[in-house]
Amino acid sequence: METLTEPAVIDQMTPIPFRVRGVREELPHTFTLELEPPDGSFAFLPGQFTMVYAFGIGEVPISISSSTSKPGTILQTIRRTGAVTHALGRLKSGDYVGIRGPFGTPWPLDTARGGDLLIIGGGIGLAPLRPAIYHAIENRADYERVVVLYGTRTPDDILFEKELAAWGERTDVTTMITVDAADRGWHGSVGVVTRLIGRVGFDPANTTVLVCGPEIMMTVTARRLIEGSSVEPENIYVTMERNMKCAIGVCGHCQFGEKFICTDGAVFPYPEVGHLFDIKGV
């Protein structure tokens, strides 16, 4: 049983140069940076994020998508959406980025022990969940059923497709994928990810659910779990994304209602933020 302990952040405001070991194109607009910490190791918890600095351009918060058991390299999976992420996508092996962190609250994998673990991702939302999936597989005896449900737009948009296929081969993990639309020849599911929930077995009274995706996806998923499967709201965890600047709860850029995403989250119990999802402009 791996005990999850909070890693120390050496310097919260100064980016540390990490060498780019490789850049992997995952999807047409999504890539993964493979980063080498300067002292050979970088401790973090599943669900935490770093501030990734493209020198001279800017910083963005990016979730760590690698395994905590391999601290010699961290993976950060990024979608090209703006100037910073495009600059990060142009990096080559041997280049450097600045890293601050790790920051934020982790997925509640310790408190989930002894029960079922239901992990639901949408689109690139699978990336922040991947460390939790790695942890559950590496510590498989700690959990009862482990279920991974993933939804995305089309078969061409499936993130980490080979790993999903590998998890699907395992007899101790239930993995299901669904897409919004597909051409004939796709033999998987078509429909929103919430439609998969009724097809998998789990004990609603003893299940921890980790959800990551766009807010609408997390809202609909949480409601389906609560109303359709009688999962207690406090056993559902979501991770939030907002523009961040300081990442240490000072600047207020990431304020979400009464919460700061960077320090109170980014992983939240659903009841702490669910009521804010429906308020326009929060």
């Binding site: 990016i62 949408g122 639309a181 051409d183 766009p214 609408i216 996806m217």
Partner: protein, 152 residues
């Protein structure tokens, strides 16, 4: 209880219905097996049956230009098709078996006659179909928005 009535009583759509109603439904039903990749019915064809999927999965396809686009898959415990409920009784989609599928086929004309003559049974089944239609409409609306669009 006949084997078919027992199968119906275990199906999510029919669960909780009276044995009398299930027996009547079983009277217009047959169990069928369909091989993987077989087209069960084609878009625009006569909607002459309702199907309850017992096991396996079915892809609903729509012709879009030269492509066959899968818009939804249905699985064991779900109902397939409601175009038999209202004129002109034409399928809006094609249904293709994703894998070997076990179904219960209900003859549409006999179902409609049965519901006209037994309004309590007809109302019970229509209530259940309304739930299915509402849930699929909600799911379709979510497929129309950028459901997986902006997370990172």
């Amino acid at each position: 209880m006949s084997e078919l009535v027992a199968t119906l009583s275990d199906h999510d759509f029919f669960r909780g219905m009276s044995e009398d109603h299930l027996a009547k439904l079983a009277g217009v039903a047959t169990e069928i097996e369909v091989d993987g990749d077989k087209v069960l019915f084609g878009e625009g064809g006569t909607a002459d049956a309702a199907y309850a999927i017992v096991s396996g999965s079915i892809a609903l396809e729509l012709s879009v230009a030269t492509r066959q686009l899968i818009v939804q898959t249905l699985h064991g415990g779900e109902m397939l098709g409601w175009s038999w409920l209202y004129p002109p009784y034409r399928w809006s989609f094609s249904a293709v078996a994703n894998e070997p599928v076990h179904l219960i086929r209900f003859e549409a004309e006999q179902l409609r006659d049965m519901f006209d003559n037994d309004c309590a049974l007809g109302y019970e089944v229509m209530k259940r179909f309304a739930g299915v239609i509402t849930s699929r409409l909600a799911a379709t609306r979510l497929q129309l928005v950028d459901f997986y669009g902006n997370a990172n």
